[in-house]
């Protein structure tokens, strides 16, 4: 699956937010938090190259500019807070998926023929995670993925991401408000405060 060794980010800057530099190794899971409206989503979007920004990013010393934007986004996947669906049934959103993960997330093959309109918010978010993982990303960006979910569903998502980090060397960056979640998912992370992004251990 994932084979990256290191994500390097140098002076990533967007809008008026402070520049952000960090390195992330394979298998690492970190958090990014800060008051709402402080620009956490902006930073994640910049990491996925979804908005114009300054600074450089590289995966194993290959700059993001050295590949097309969609190749970069396959390697640096983004799971937004609210998932979007455009086909009638679930299967229409998948070219491929990992069937082990499908089961870990609590689904079976039949799920692919379900109607999107009948999914609960928890089911939607677990399927969105499966979809975001379909291209075997090397880094997964999670933007408050469990904000509207119950505890059980939240744990399933945390465990699946943790498993991928541990067993397959995927790296994860979680945007979260939730202090107890921070404890569970990461040893360290960053806090966005006014004009600085401060590294913090949990």
């Amino acid at each position: 699956m994932a084979s990256m060794n290191q994500l390097k980010v140098k002076d990533l800057q967007i809008l008026k937010l402070p520049p952000w530099s960090f390195e992330l190794s394979a298998g690492e899971s970190v958090f990014l938090s800060g008051p709402s409206g402080s620009g956490k989503t902006r930073l994640l979007r910049a990491l996925a190259d979804l908005d114009p920004h300054q600074g450089d990013m590289s995966l194993d010393d290959v700059s993001y500019l050295g590949m097309t934007a969609h190749e970069w986004r396959k390697k640096v996947a983004f799971l937004p807070a609210e998932s979007q669906w455009w086909c009638v049934d679930v299967g229409g959103h998948f070219n491929q998926y990992n069937s082990d993960l499908l089961q870990q997330l609590g689904f079976s093959k039949e799920t692919m023929s379900w109607e999107v309109a009948r999914l609960s918010s928890g089911e939607k978010q677990r399927l969105a995670l499966l979809r975001a993982l379909a291209e075997n990303p090397e880094v997964l960006l999670l933007d408050e993925p469990t904000a509207n979910l119950d505890d059980k569903c939240t744990r399933v998502i945390e465990q699946v991401v943790e498993g991928l980090c541990r067993d397959h060397g995927m790296a994860a960056i979680w945007v979260t408000h939730n202090a107890s979640q921070v404890q569970r998912i990461a040893r360290h992370g960053w806090v966005l405060q006014g004009n600085a992004i401060i590294r913090q251990d949990t």
Binding site: A69, A77, Q84
Partner: protein
């Protein structure tokens, strides 16, 4: 020729109907009364002007003057295409793309028609060239304008869906392909309807005009078929150009959705 000349009084009666309509829409507060009147006034002034210009160009056939008139018509059409769109590309892109699409839809097709199909000598004989170009511009404008409008509006409304696809690593073209198809369909719908209904539900305007002016019906019909096909082809190619380049412009070189390149009217 049994042509019955229209008097100013005849035209005033028709104009009175439009004024009545404007009055009604003022009462119903539809907010289009003044637009209606201005458009009506423009029809009169513009048509009278073009009548005068055609009169002098017909009597003095010269490629230079005909080209000049054609280019002015093209530029005005390019402007009109973008004029009534709610979401449109900022700056020169809006006008430029409108003009380019109209060029493809009208200029190229009219040139082919004059040289290959109608085969008049010289090919720029103004009696054929100008009315045909005008008809192409006027009729293909609609489809191009609708297609472009649909594209920009859908991109605006479905930005989260488009971006969700980009997040999954789709390239820009795939991320917007369903919207693009939809926009081209929207652009082509009116002309397909017009072809399907031609002669059954409606008698097309050009043919009606020719018959009113005394042409034999079968000759009028043949010209109408020719024009219909040319308009369809022109609308199609022009809409392709407008929607393709328009959709590309909505993304930058890093395949980011750039709705800041649209302005909202």
């Amino acid at each position: 020729m049994n042509l019955i000349a229209l008097t100013p009084l005849d035209l005033s009666l028709a104009a009175a109907l439009v004024v009545l309509l404007a009055l009604l829409s003022r009462i119903l507060q539809l907010g289009i009364a003044s637009q209606l009147l201005v458009a009506g006034l423009r029809t009169v002034v513009q048509l009278l002007l073009i009548g005068l210009i055609l009169k002098s160009i017909f009597s003095y056939v010269h490629l230079g003057w005909i080209s000049l008139l054609s280019i002015i018509m093209l530029l005005l059409a390019g402007r009109e295409v973008m004029a009534r769109q709610k979401y449109r590309l900022k700056g020169w892109w809006g006008f430029g793309l409108g003009t380019l699409s109209m060029f493809v839809s009208s200029f190229s097709i009219t040139l082919i028609a004059l040289n290959v199909i109608v085969n008049v000598d010289p090919w720029y004989t103004p009696q054929y060239a100008i009315p045909m170009l005008g008809m192409m511009l006027g009729n293909t404008m609609n489809g191009i304008s609708l297609g472009q409008d649909r594209l920009n509006q859908s991109a605006w409304q479905q930005r989260v869906v488009i971006e969700a696809r980009l997040m999954l690593g789709w390239n820009w073209s795939r991320a917007i392909s369903d919207i693009r198809q939809d926009s081209i369909r929207t652009g082509l719908m009116p002309i397909i309807n017009a072809m399907a209904a031609a002669g059954i539900v409606s008698l097309p305007g050009m043919m009606t005009g020719q018959i009113l002016a005394g042409s034999p019906p079968m000759e009028a019909v043949k010209y109408q078929i020719l024009i219909m096909f040319l308009i369809t082809a022109g609308t199609g190619f022009g809409t392709f150009v407008a929607v393709w380049f328009g959709s590309r412009r909505l993304f930058d070189e890093r395949e980011r959705l750039r709705l800041d390149r649209l302005e909202v009217k």
